[in-house]
Structures are given as structure tokens and as C-alpha cells.
Symmetry: C2
Subunit: 199 residues, 2 copies
Amino acid sequence: MAVNVLVVLAKGFEELEAISVIDVLRRADCNVIVAKVEANVEEKLEFKNDILDSNLIVESQKGVKVVADKFLNAVDCKSLDGIVFPGGWEGTQNLIASSILKEVLEKLNAKGKIIAAICAAPLALFKHGILKEQSFTCYPSIEKMIENPHYKADSNVIQEGNVITSRGPATALEFAFYLASVFVGKQKTKEIQAEMLAL
Amino acid sequence: MAVNVLVVLAKGFEELEAISVIDVLRRADCNVIVAKVEANVEEKLEFKNDILDSNLIVESQKGVKVVADKFLNAVDCKSLDGIVFPGGWEGTQNLIASSILKEVLEKLNAKGKIIAAICAAPLALFKHGILKEQSFTCYPSIEKMIENPHYKADSNVIQEGNVITSRGPATALEFAFYLASVFVGKQKTKEIQAEMLAL
């Protein structure tokens, strides 16, 4: 059974954080679904299976245009094993503004599925009602906006329960390898680290 | 004066290597042009300035679809300060197959502009007539296909003259920071490294 992981992209996402996770998890043979999140606009859009819809393009913080696989409302959330939020300040604001995303998170959290965020994006988890009590990390200064006393500045990646957080662009690859170890195990992750010259 | 850097993407490019360079160099305020390279097909395509042309989409090794800014034949090569080749085996083969790219490289090399490649892509430099004599590095085993005795296995990034090479996905961020230091200097690069939590 393939592991299904949703990576959510909203305008202004941090590109290195998103691509590190997508690259590593696809090397780990996870089924990574890249979904576009817009502040409730996606509710109005019809999903077209075979036609490139230019509305599926999401522009990153530094202007990289990525074509998402789907709109968020076209994703079959029941099959998901986890969800990953890349950071970027504007991207995080756009993740916060999506009520559809809030619903998806609540469903995944209720089932104990993996919920992961890096950089500014742990703030989106908090705003959507996750990350109230768990130990976490994030981009320095973002923790001041998160009303949770369990911020840890000294780890690049932290997991408590089903919530995994990380710090920023330079820790993105470590975050991606950590996620791979959770989804496919340490042995396969080591093989991917070796293939990517990380060992 | 902005520094103009061309990043060339061909089908099958290694996404983390491409995005690391684009992200870091744009943070360094370089004008990064992302150009699509196809094996001579681009000669036939008309460049449309304002309209999204779905032909501009380039699919990475692990299926990330990136919309390039331009086709290679629409790039003003006279203004370029450097060119960067991300790796990926299939991407490298497609870079090798482009005669337009060969011409661009020859012009840049004649002017001593920066020519950089990572992972499998140093092979494309060699096949296009660059990297005959300089010290270099690349993804392990690729050096066997490059008829140049000056392969170095012990450095993540090597520069000799105007040619800069690096090893693979896990060294991509170091490669990107090295390029930034060449294009905008060490001080600004340190600021970006700090901002990205790499220091």
C-alpha cells in the first residue's frame, strides 16, 4: 500500500521547503499529492482531470511557478496518511485563510494522521486549532505568535504525537528525511540519504 | 546593476538542485531567468510574452511541473553573467541534446562568464566542449564518462577559472551559497545564509 501524503501550496510558499519534501518523499515511493490552496476560492473551481488548468499554477515566494496536481477540494482526504505545510510568510497567511484546509486538518488530526509544518507554517497549524499543547519548533520569531509555551529553539525537527515541525529553509532537507523515516522507515530513508549524498 | 543568471531546465531535471539555486540567487537579488531547454524543439516555438504557454512547463525528475520564464532561444544571452545546470540523469541528457545550449555555452565561455553544473550535469558541460581541463566534481560515477583526469571526490563544490561544479542534491544548497558568494559577495551571502538558518 502506497503512503499518501498531501503537500499544500498557497501563493507565496517557500519553494525550497516544498520541493525538498516532494523530492524526498517521491524518492521514498510515497504518493505525494501537490494541492493548491486558495482562500476559499477553490470551492468555486471545477476540477478538470486531463486538461491543464492555468489556475492550478501556484507562485512561490521567489516567483517559481509550480503547477499543482489538484485543487485542495478535489483531494480524497480519506486516503491520506499525512499532510505537509511548507512555510513562507505570505504562503502561511494564505493557508490560514482557507476554511477548507481547516476542515481537512481537523479530519486528519481526529484520526491521528501525520501533520507537519516548517518555518512560518506552524503558525497556520496553530490558527487552525492544532499545535495547542505539543512541543514544537518554527522559524525564529514566529513562536511569539503561537500561544503554546512548548517552543524548542534547539532542535531542527520536533515530533510530539502526530505533529512534526521544523525551522526553515536550511533545515528543510532534514525535515524531509525525518518525514520519510516516519512514512517508510529508517532503512529506506538511509538508502535515499545515500543516493542524495546526504550520508 | 543586477546580476543576470540563467538557470536551464530540461525534462527530468533534479528539482531540489534547481530550486536551491533559484531560491538563493533570488534572495541575493540576482535576476534569475529560468529557461526551458528542449532538444532543438524550441527553435520552432514562437515566444509569447504575456500569455502562459503550457509548452513552457518543464517536468522534473520526480514529476514537479515548473513553468519556465522563457524558452532558451528567447533569452538575451549578451546580458548574462552566468549559467547554471541542475542535474538529473534525464535532464542532463536533454541538456546534451540541445545545440542551442551549446552555442550559448560557447559564447559565455569565450567571455569568461560563470558556468556552473551539479550532479550529472557536469557531463553536459563536457559534452558541449567545456570542462576539458579544469578540476571538477560531480555525482559519483558520472566522472567515469568525463574524459578529464582532474576529478576531485573530496569537495562538495569546486571552482577552477570560470567553471563551478558540485556533487548532488544534498550539496545543492552549499552550491547555491557558493554561487551567491561569487555573484554578490561573501557578506551578502552570509546575510542570506543567516536568514535561511544555515549559520
